[in-house]
Amino acid sequence: MDYIKVDNKTGGKYIEDYRKLTLEYSISVGGLEKYFEGLKNGVLYASKCKSCGSIYYPPRSSCGKCGSSDIVWIELGKEGTLLTFTEINVKPATHSHYDDYIIGIGSFNGVKVLGLVEAKYDELKIGMKIRYEIVVREPENYYIIVFTPI
């Protein structure tokens, strides 16, 4: 067995770590269950503070500006504007199984939302009109916001 290995680029010697660690988390959603329920039903919610009117996306269950915990859920309009976008060509470890994907930031009545963009890169233009929908993404089967040009 090759106990001490050689990095061919530098000649440096190393031992490959024989302890492997997979990190797994159970992530609390706190007071935002309504948001994730909304995704299941194809609805995108922001939170609005009843006391000072501040709108948050992503939503939060208390208002950071005035401190109130009295919030209402508002549904975002389906049509908006593409503010910017990029295509991810070199992917992080947990996304390496996807083909190259485009992500963008859209503005929906002034509320900014991050989403996956379903279009060819060259067809996209900053300032163009887009629509969002909530889609189930394979193979994990999670809900994701997808923008398409109108």
Binding site: G11, T84, N89, P92, A93, H95, I144
Partner: protein, 390 residues
């Protein structure tokens, strides 16, 4: 309480793929150099700040094991983390320890050994310096991806091209080629950059700073100790920190790093700098991607909004231009060991102000004033430090 604070010694390892040394040996390189050129003996050091983001190499709490290896026990210690500004945050913490009177002599040592991780693992860990829950987990954004969103928007709004941004890479490689401690010691052509593959379109491989192993160290002292140890102490005249939304969707726009602008305003005020182009001889800015350097020109008020791109088109940030920037090669060519980068910037600028760097990348020192601009994450952290010979 109001005493001034000086940097009296700095050190840096060679940056690069440092599989030839262990984690401890990498730290030792910077520490030994800083100790030697400060004249301080280990026993004089009162507190040690380690700066490291961590995760790229397997040690979970590096401060303790490093303090032991450097024979600095029983001095008090901790690790400071603020993404890619960890190093500057460490300098800020050390500055304030001395300013408050708690300590007179403090060592800051930054280290990251990123090559102990695979590239996909490193990209994953880097991406998680943003907001994992809302933006990384579902959308698989990467660090190049964050900055690509800014670059696309900047190009559309200010009519800049991918080629314009490549000029930043060409400049930084030009100087990196002349820095023996740089990761990439070779010049590149505009075509090399333009023809390189997309990493996060429109960001190409040569728009990106590399993954780097490296360490850097700085020894800070209160003013009563500066002349005892050093003939050329470098004074910290301004140091400031600011923050901005880590969520992309929390930003007003994607054309600047608001925290860097805020921190610069504070640091300029503290140092009495009204016009940076008039006072600052040389700057190290956070060029993790070429777009980041262009936004830095504007956030630091070297250029008006939308005009940063003209500074590089006109080669105004080379030696001989309006303000030389990244004569070390920058993150782009010198390398970016994320937790060490901020300390490395201070190490470079101290040597620049002392006239100690290689001749063909030495800035003319007229006013004796230098600036470090360090951005963490996508600008949720920013630190600006202004150094002076006087």
């Amino acid at each position: 309480m109001c005493r001034n604070v000086a940097v009296i010694g700095v050190g840096s390892s060679k940056y690069g793929r440092r599989t030839d040394v262990s984690f401890m040996e990498l730290a030792w390189e910077a520490y030994k150099e800083a100790l030697d050129n400060s004249g301080v003996s280990p026993g004089d050091i009162e507190y040690v700040v380690y700066t490291s983001v961590g995760g790229y190499s397997p040690e979970g709490s590096p401060a303790g094991i490093l303090n032991e290896y450097l024979e600095l026990n029983p001095k008090g210690t901790s690790r400071i983390e603020a993404a890619c500004t960890s190093g500057s945050a460490g300098i800020f913490f050390a500055y304030n320890l001395i300013k408050s009177g708690y300590a007179d002599i403090v060592l800051v040592l930054g280290i990251e050994k990123m090559m102990e991780s695979s590239t996909p693992q490193t990209l994953e860990l880097l991406a998680r310096l943003g907001n994992y829950f809302w933006e990384v987990r579902d959308y698989g954004i990467t660090f190049p991806g964050y900055y690509a969103l800014f670059m696309n928007r900047y190009m559309a709004v200010y009519n800049a091209s991918e080629e314009d941004f490549c000029k930043v890479a060409v400049k930084n490689h030009y100087y990196g080629a002349r820095n023996p401690k740089a990761q990439y010691r070779r010049e590149i052509s505009l075509e090399d950059c333009i023809n390189s593959r997309y990493i996060a379109r429109p960001i190409k491989l040569f728009d990106c700073s590399p993954i780097t192993d490296g360490s850097a160290a700085a020894i800070l002292v209160g003013e009563e100790y500066a002349s005892k140890y050093s003939d050329s102490p470098i004074w910290i005249k301004g140091i400031a920190s600011a923050s901005a939304s880590a969520l992309l969707t929390g930003r007003e726009d994607y054309l600047s790093i608001p925290s860097a602008y805020e921190a610069a305003k504070k640091a300029y005020k503290m140092a009495g700098v009204d016009d940076p182009l008039k006072y600052i001889d040389v700057a190290e800015v956070h060029d993790c991607f070429t777009i980041a350097e262009v936004m830095a020109y504007e956030d630091l008020q070297f250029a008006e909004r939308g005009k940063g791109i003209e500074l590089i088109r006109e080669e105004q940030t080379y030696i001989g231009g309006k303000i030389p920037v990244n004569l070390s090669g920058g993150l782009k060519s010198k390398g970016h060991p994320i937790g060490a980068t901020g300390v490395g910037m201070i190490a470079e600028l101290v040597k620049q102000l002392r006239g100690e760097v290689e001749r063909d990348r030495q800035a003319p020192i007229k006013n004796g004033c230098a600036l470090a601009h360090n951005v963490g994450g996508i600008g949720q952290y920013a630190y600006i430090t202004i150094l002076s010979l006087k």
